[in-house]
Symmetry: C2
Subunit: 242 residues, 2 copies
């Protein structure tokens, strides 16, 4: 999963009080390439005039206003709510941003999703949380948990566009293996394991699925996929020779 | 590297114009547990009175003012500068935040480091960049690169405190393989490759090193290390049998 399907994500601000914060959110969205801003009952209905959202005019102009969270997320099949950890016992699963981001990216591959952010003062209430399948929390200090609204949005969107492979080496080197290369490595691995009589990896579909998932979890670079394929070819040759 | 040595990092704001931005930066620092704020020639010397940095009074009170970048980073052995990508040809290496964060975390394990952030209008000039060993850029869109100052600080600090293992599953499950497990897998892989007559992975030290690095790059979970070891044991058995 190299790039997130940005067009499928709606950022939903619920009862935001300060119009400047709406502008700051729009800027962060534009910085990271997200353009679907939705507002549920903003405190200042004239927020569009008030803001100075540097460079984010298109996001602000396209922002839509809704009367309720239900209407704002009606077309989204997956809804996450950004909350703190401290003050309620949620019925939904609550995940740190690192994991919530991964689940959101996965969902966005095939469908629309929304992230709810509450008001500066009160965050999200239970009447809003009921629309969320998942709670998301940014790992701030317990002693000072509450973030500035637009900073919270910026950090959340950064997690979505972040590319883990980039941490390992500089740009070009870190290019991830394409699906054809991964498929090649997977088929070779299956063949080798079958030839070697590996019990868990016999002829059953479940075992094949497991091999697929295993190779994908390795998150190989293009180079490492080539190295692995080379190793497996040699092992296959030796196994067949004998 | 599970936690970053936060006390060793100084956030250095150079010629910040808007005192509200200083307050917003202080809040982000406090949220993520960084307390060393340094200001080089802030535009409003009376910035401390102007700000409303919710919850970040300790960071603001301890903030120190300097006349030059040189003085502000005098005690730091590693300095990163947050810049855009577009407008200069740096002599230092320039890394995306994912990689820059990794290098900073590594450095902070044993020494002090600083990150420079420029003014809202002009960013950092060459006269400031000369003090940096590394340029750091947040992966924003080329068409709208420039972030709000405090949002840029928030995203950067989040990258530093981010825990990759948290993305994979909830807490305990995602446990990474220990070095003993990785060593076992590596030795098995070497044995299998030697038995199979893999040319690049013969008896030389260089090849052994390559195998070590390859296995470490896979960043295996404890479970996947066990799966890999099981596969390799079976392949070894089959190769020796014949």
């Amino acid at each position: 999963m190299n790039t997130v399907a940005k067009a499928g994500l709606a950022v939903v601000l619920v009862e935001t009080r300060n119009p400047l914060n709406i502008g700051a959110v729009a800027r962060a969205m534009s910085n990271f390439g997200f353009f679907e801003l939705r507002l549920v009952r903003p405190y200042e209905p004239s927020f569009r005039e008030a803001v100075s959202a540097v460079g984010a005019a298109p996001v602000m102009a396209a922002a839509r206003v809704f009367d309720s969270v239900a209407e704002a997320v009606a077309d989204c099949t997956f809804v996450a709510a950004a909350t703190g950890l401290s003050h309620r016992e949620p019925s939904q699963p609550a995940y740190r941003l690192e994991r919530a981001g991964r689940l959101l990216r996965r969902h966005l591959q095939s469908a629309r999703a929304a992230i709810l952010f509450g008001s500066e003062k009160h965050g999200l209430g239970n009447e809003h949380l009921q629309f969320a399948q998942m709670l998301l929390h940014i790992p701030t200090r317990a002693e000072h948990e509450s973030m500035n609204l637009a900073q919270a949005v910026a950090v959340t969107l950064y997690e979505l566009i972040r590319q883990p492979a980039m941490a390992r080496s500089s740009g070009a080197e870190a290019e991830r293996a394409g699906s054809a290369a991964l498929e090649r490595a997977t088929l070779l691995l299956e063949e080798v394991l079958q030839t070697a009589g590996h019990t868990d990896y016999g002829q059953e579909t479940a075992a094949t699925l497991k091999t697929h998932e295993f190779v994908r979890r390795l998150n190989l670079s293009a180079r490492d996929a080539a190295i692995l394929t080379g190793m497996l070819r040699q092992i296959r040759w030796k196994l067949k020779e004998s």
